[in-house]
């Protein structure tokens, strides 16, 4: 029986950017972007679910983000997570990786004991691969980054195959340990129809508040109670709930600042156009010979 906590993130789909996404202060206007479940985090969740399938236990997914990040928590429930938590507060906004790892580590401490923390190696909006290791350091636990395969768990130790530059390592580590997972490590299981039916209505407090807005027949407190009864209430941890040091959260707690942002205007137009014909190729090769390339 092992308990896993999985760190998941909702990310802007950077491959499909449209409109004006950058705010004047250089941060990202996420509301302008389609938001998706960071794929490597889904693979991390799959790792945790596989451990549960084999050894039994529990899988908890947590995410730090704005209210709409609850979407991916529902998706975690659809895949098989037992419990999910939203870590959300205006005070967390604008966090860099250091401030993020601080809040996540405090949320993990509040959730309690665990054997594993899983996370994707990196998120596609920054590609930094920093939050996993930074969280592990704050929790004072070891880490295995770039995990490719779980080879087994025995005597309180997990054996992992992990990527290194030019090859791989087999490492064995005492639990608890934080593990970051590579894209190809596992195929995330599809959402289960039964679980979609069961959890599609799961809601955070903010979402319930929205429902009750402008409807005098609905009361948030009664709805919350009702959702809790039906196991559909998604707990949110705020800065107050976590009793965090606010100077270490959000933009205040972030040492890295965006000093300058330049939009990239990529213009087309080669110095010299070559016709896609046999003659064109002849001219090109002559030019390359002149350039002493060949």
């Amino acid at each position: 029986m092992f308990k896993s906590i999985v760190l998941v993130k909702q990310v802007p789909d950077t491959a499909n950017i449209t409109g004006k996404v950058m705010k004047d202060d250089g941060t990202v206007n996420r509301s302008m972007l389609p938001a998706i479940f960071n794929y490597e985090d889904k693979v991390a969740l799959e790792f945790a679910l596989q451990i549960k399938d084999t050894y039994g236990g529990k899988v908890i997914a947590i995410t730090m983000g704005p209210a709409r990040a609850a979407d991916i928590l529902r998706e975690c429930l659809f895949m098989g997570a037992d419990e999910v938590y939203a870590i959300s507060d205006r005070k967390f906004a604008g966090a860099d990786t250091l401030a993020t790892s601080y809040v996540l580590s405090e949320a993990i401490k509040k959730i309690g004991d665990y054997d594993f923390i899983f996370a994707g190696r990196q998120a596609i909006d920054g590609d930094t691969a920093q939050v996993g290791p930074q969280t592990a350091e704050k929790l004072e636990i070891p880490q295995i980054t770039y995990a490719e395969e779980i080879l087994g768990i025995k005597d309180g130790k997990i054996k992992i195959k992990k990527k290194i530059d030019g090859g791989y390592e087999i490492v064995q580590c005492k639990m608890p340990v934080l593990i970051t997972v590579l894209k190809g490590a596992a195929e995330p299981r599809p959402f289960q129809a039964k679980r979609i039916m069961a959890y599609k209505g799961a809601k955070t407090l903010t979402e319930l508040e929205k429902l009750t807005e402008g409807n005098s027949l609905l009361y948030v407190d009664t709805m919350k109670h009702e959702y809790e009864e039906r196991n559909l209430f998604i707990e949110t941890y705020s800065a107050d709930d976590l009793k965090v040091d606010e100077s270490r959260c959000g933009i205040k707690g972030s040492p890295t600042k965006v000093h300058k942002v330049e939009s990239v205007v990529l213009s087309g137009g080669s110095k010299e156009l070559i016709e896609p014909t046999r003659d064109g190729m002849g001219i090109l090769i002559d030019k390359l010979l002149e350039d002493r390339i060949f």
Binding site: M22, Q134, D165, G166, T256, I274, L284
Partner: protein
């Protein structure tokens, strides 16, 4: 204690120094010069005094050497602790790490512990006085990197913390051996193992000498997502074979499974400076351009005449690779053989 120390974490794998570390020393030398500071190499491993000595060829003023049998292989816990302790003791201004698997494992932990700013995968680094929110900050490290799907180039600063950390991919900075090596000054620091250092054991390690040498290839034929399939990549292999080049790909091509990640050119792949770079079906996002725009000559082949890749190319061919490449091969053979 010198107030302007620039450090480079010198990575070694099985006693062999990583190229990226010497590239960073070359860059670190320039940064140290522009802030009248000193450059220090941090060398951790076993029997690595030779590597410490080599750092003076690239401009190190001093090498801090931590040499112990238990440090032969990189392991997160002891390496992190050593770095944390050294930083707290010396309070350097800048630390550079290679954006390798080990570097990306170590740097964030060290940043987390020392509450330092850390910017990943920088494509340029500069020292400059900065005015930020009405306050003057002398000699900050400008950490420049494409961000957000390549739609922007961001300059990141860490104005209010002392230690500024950055990771840089291999090949991004150029390696410049000094004309005359700096005088050797090695300071050995003792390592005392503690229990938690042994919490993770490396049971096996498999490293293959990479057969791919994009950095050293004089000619590179690179394909993008626009090629549409793995099969179409065969055209690139044919062309590379005939003209004597290596095949590479954009990140989109790697993500689509057309080609292996060890052949990825760009910000999160390898940066190359070949004599000739042929970009086929590559749109030319900023992250890709960051990895190839210093090629001596660039040929772009794309069906979209407005593709940004044409903006950095010397020769542009608007056309379908499936027709253009066989023609190019045939003409080359005809003219040169």
């Amino acid at each position: 204690m010198h107030k302007n120390e620039v450090w480079v974490f010198v990575e070694q794998r099985n006693g062999k120094p990583a190229d990226v570390s010497f590239e960073l020393l070359s860059k670190g030398r320039k940064l140290a010069d522009s802030m009248k500071g000193v450059l220090k190499a941090i060398v951790i491993g076993h029997d690595v005094k030779g590597i410490a000595t080599e750092t003076f060829k690239y401009g190190a003023n001093e090498a801090i050497l931590v040499d112990h049998p238990d440090l032969k292989l990189f392991r997160t816990m002891p390496y992190t602790r050593i770095m944390n302790d050294l930083i707290k003791q010396h309070n350097p201004r800048i630390i550079l790490f290679g954006a390798t698997v080990y570097g990306r494992d170590l740097a964030p932990r060290v940043a987390s512990n020392t509450k330092s700013g850390l910017t990943a995968d920088c494509t340029d680094l500069k020292i400059s006085d900065v005015k930020y929110l009405g306050k003057d900050y002398p000699q900050l490290l400008l950490q420049i990197r494409p961000a957000f799907g390549g739609n922007i180039v961001a300059t990141i600063i860490t104005p209010d913390v002392h230690v500024q950390m950055a990771t840089v991919r291999e090949g991004v900075m150029e390696m410049h051996p000094c004309e005359k090596p700096f005088p050797v000054k090695i300071t050995e620091v003792a390592y005392k193992p503690i229990d938690i250092d042994g919490i993770l054991e490396v049971i096996e390690q498999h490293v293959e000498e990479s057969k791919v040498n994009l950095k050293g290839a004089p000619i590179i034929v690179a394909g993008g997502y626009g090629l549409g399939s793995k099969e179409n990549f065969k055209l690139l292999h044919d062309l590379a074979h005939v003209i004597g080049g290596e095949v590479a790909g954009s990140r989109a091509a790697v993500d689509a499974g057309f080609i292996g990640s060890e052949r990825q050119v760009g910000q999160t792949g390898v940066t190359v400076r070949p004599k000739l770079y042929i970009a086929v079906g590559i749109s030319g996002a900023i992250q890709h351009r960051a990895g190839m725009q210093e090629a001596k000559k660039i040929i772009a082949i794309n069906t979209d005449p407005d593709a940004p890749i044409f903006g950095v190319s010397h020769y542009g061919i608007v056309g379908d690779a499936a027709q253009v490449i066989p023609l190019l091969i045939e003409t080359y053979k005809h003219k040169l053989k």
